[in-house]
Amino acid sequence: MATKVLERKPLSLAEQTYLPQILGGMKITLRNMFKPPVTLEYPDERPDIPEGYRGVPTLVKDPNGREKCVSCQLCEFVCPPRAIRITPGEIDAESDTAHVEKAPKEFEINMLRCIYCGFCQEVCPEEAIFLQDIFSLSGYSREELVYQKDKLYELGGTLPDQHYKWDRKREAELAGNPHH
């Protein structure tokens, strides 16, 4: 049996007057008064954003300034409130990044819908979308809070890249096959 019967001791006379408890409580509150406040005075002081914090989802570029998103639309698929909407597009064959072939023509995140679950970041195969440390958004209209691609890149900035997958791909392309 997981239940445990607790014996309730009858209150002593002192306890019945309630006074010792009051004094005990007052001792605690008095001690508290001399502790430093825990308040974070928000707009003046900024919180330390801990590692792994899930702020506003943003699009990032790699250190070479290449937009990382290839509009695979996995984030759009996984997003529980369907906050993301992507119009995929093809990269022009003349472009520097022609070997990536695909990039979003339009990329919208409706910040009013986003629930900051971070699924998009987790699912992204290109490590292109990150929930970074921005936590306060405001706007005057609903439309304003549907962030477009340029805004998302502006918020996201550049993050270090571990793989340089596409750069290596191009190197391989330039090197060609040993066979030929």
Binding site: V70, S71, C72, Q73, L74, E76, F77, P88, G89, E90, A93, H99, V100, E101, K102, P125, E126, K165, K169, A172, E173, A175, G176, N177, H179, H180
Partner: protein, 571 residues
């Protein structure tokens, strides 16, 4: 097993898949047989409608047959008296092994698993990390089998091969050679089905590359089927490329309206927009193929000349107003109907019902659309549903391209009111002056000259926006479902027709605007449809008796799964 020896002579045999007995049709291969047992043999190069080449080795399984004593020919038995299984010492490829009675197959043994892991590893060695930009992702056999049967991590640290990417090999097909797993399905398709062998491999080993023969292009009208059968994203449709991920697409069964073949299709749409049309397997009609030309038909939904507004003499009006005026015409004076072979059976039937309420004789015509058939999946009759009009009794002859009778009748004033459904009669020998003479009600999906001079315009839904059925050249009733909602303001489903019917009959003849309700009526009225209902039509269609029309000179020639009646064809 006692029944074993009998099986030899029958069209099914019993085999043992992982020790479970399964009865399968005789003569099929192990990939299909194991599928009957509800299990899967992963495969790339095998395609049920193409020849077997056995070059991908993904379908390796362990196989054994009951042994026979060489001397006596008697079955060998083990200690317990069961047949002794002589296992083939090495794994065999399932696609090239046909079933035989008593055959044993292991699809889950550790040897088989090792084989699959090995094959997957080799396939992935040079495979690019393209899934995020690959159109096949989500319906890619390589992805699926890599998760199901792959080892889960890569041991390959060297640089991957480089091959041509983003290559145009035809007007509608783009090739990415790095993704090709050299299964040769596309090559075989071009040879065996499309009769246009233009694809082949060059170079050897891991440098093998798919390409077109010098100076050739993959430009036949069946080229996009290679995209469908390519198990990976090597061949992609230039039209669909990068437009939408397949996992977003809602798949709706539909019918290709290009010709009376009636290819079964799947319409992929998302949020009311159609992105692509692909074939749906129907072994009695189109196997797994369809012509390229049928895949762009979805564009009519958003066509520039799409008509979406009810109007009277060019003035926009409410649907009820237009339909009431049309019914007023029909009830006063002599009327005639020009219907279309592109309407569904239900719509054609409702037109006969509407005509029956008009005073006097109400003749009806269809406009023929004839072109040369290609002997495969495009027949000479480019109307998908002429037989529907015959069966429902709307017409009783094979339609002609020119409406000379109607022209005369209009000229002489014998026809005062004309209902035109889905056809531009100015293209069929009717002059604009003649149209102006009569009260023309135009029901159609597009603006055309007829609409321009009609008194009443009523917008019509395209095949993607409604449900219904067609009857193809084999007299096979085939259903199609609604893929996307119709344009704003257009009455849904069959409402245009049922409301017109109700108005013409003074509210007496009312039918729900759904195919199911119309089918209930049709089953009662039409012999061929007896005992049939809309929901009872299987997804592969239902053949109906065609004897009533045996003497009609249909124009279709031979095509896939279709032989014209020789008597008629010769006549």
């Amino acid at each position: 097993m006692s029944t074993m020896s009998d099986d030899n002579k029958q069209d099914t045999v019993t085999i043992y898949v992982d020790d479970q007995p399964v009865e399968v049709p005789a003569g099929i291969n192990l990939v299909e047989a194991v599928a009957v047992a509800g299990k899967e043999v992963p495969h790339y190069c095998y395609h049920p409608k193409l020849s077997v080449v056995g070059n991908c080795r993904m379908c390796l399984v362990e196989m054994g047959t009951p042994g026979r004593d060489r001397a006596t020919g008697e079955p060998m038995l083990d200690e317990e008296g069961n047949p002794k299984i002589m296992w083939v010492p090495k794994p065999v490829i399932g696609c090239a092994t046909n079933v035989s009675p008593g055959m044993h197959v292991k699809t889950e043994s550790s040897l088989v698993k090792d084989c699959r892991e090995g094959v997957m590893e080799f396939l992935l060695v040079n495979h690019p990390l393209d899934c995020p930009i690959c159109d096949q992702a989500g319906e890619c056999r390589l992805q699926e089998f890599a998760t199901d049967y792959g080892r889960g991590y890569s041991r390959f640290v060297e640089q991957k091969n480089v091959k041509p990417k983003r290559t145009r090999i035809g007007p509608r097909v783009t090739l990415d050679d790095e993704r090709c797993i050299l299964c040769s399905r596309c090559i075989r398709f071009c040879e065996e089905v499309a009769d246009d062998p233009v694809l082949g491999f060059i170079d050897r080993g891991s440098y093998t590359t798919l390409t077109t023969f010098p100076g050739k292009e993959l430009d036949n009208n069946y080229s996009l089927n290679t995209v469908d059968i390519c198990p990976v994203g090597a061949l992609t449709s230039t039209d669909f490329r990068f437009k939408m991920r397949v996992w977003f697409l809602k798949e709706t069964p539909s019918i290709d309206t290009e010709s009376s073949v009636g290819c079964n299709t799947v319409v992929g749409s998302r949020e009311g927009t159609i992105y692509r049309i692909t074939p749906r397997r129907n072994d009695a009609v189109n196997d797994t193929w369809m012509p390229d030309s049928g895949r762009t038909l979805y564009r009519q939904v958003d066509a520039d000349d799409r008509m979406t507004q009810y109007s009277i003499e060019g003035r926009p009006c409410a649907a009820e107003e237009a339909l009431t005026l049309a019914s007023t015409y029909l009830r006063n004076g002599r009327s005639a109907i020009v219907a279309s072979g592109r309407l569904s059976v239900e719509e054609q039937y409702l037109l006969t019902r509407i005509a029956s309420h008009a005073p006097g004789e109400t003749p009806a015509w269809l406009v023929a659309r004839h072109a040369e058939g290609d002997g495969k999946l495009l027949s000479a009759d480019r109307n998908p549903n002429v037989r529907g009009a015959l069966v429902t009794g709307l017409i009783d002859r094979i339609p002609e391209a020119q409406l000379s009778q109607l022209s005369a009748a209009l000229e002489s004033g014998k026809v005062e009111n004309l209902i035109v459904v889905g056809e531009d009669i100015t293209q069929a020998g009717i002059s604009i002056d003649q149209i102006k003479k009569a009260n023309v009600v135009y029901i159609g999906a597009v603006h055309c000259d007829t609409a321009q001079y009609a008194k009443v315009e009523i917008p019509l839904l395209t095949v993607f926006e409604k449900a219904g059925s067609f009857i193809n050249q084999q007299f096979r009733v085939q259903k199609f479902a609604q893929a996307v909602p119709g344009p704003k303001g257009v009455l849904f489903g069959l409402s245009n027709f049922t409301q017109l019917l109700a108005a013409v009959s003074d509210g007496k003849d009312r039918i729900e605007p759904s195919p199911a309700a119309v089918w209930t009526e049709m089953a009662a009225a039409i012999d061929e449809f007896k005992e049939l209902s809309f929901s009872a039509i299987p997804s592969t269609g239902q053949l109906i008796p065609a004897d009533r029309f045996a003497d009609l000179p249909f124009v279709e020639g031979k095509s896939l799964h279709f032989e014209p009646r020789t008597a008629v064809a010769d006549a």
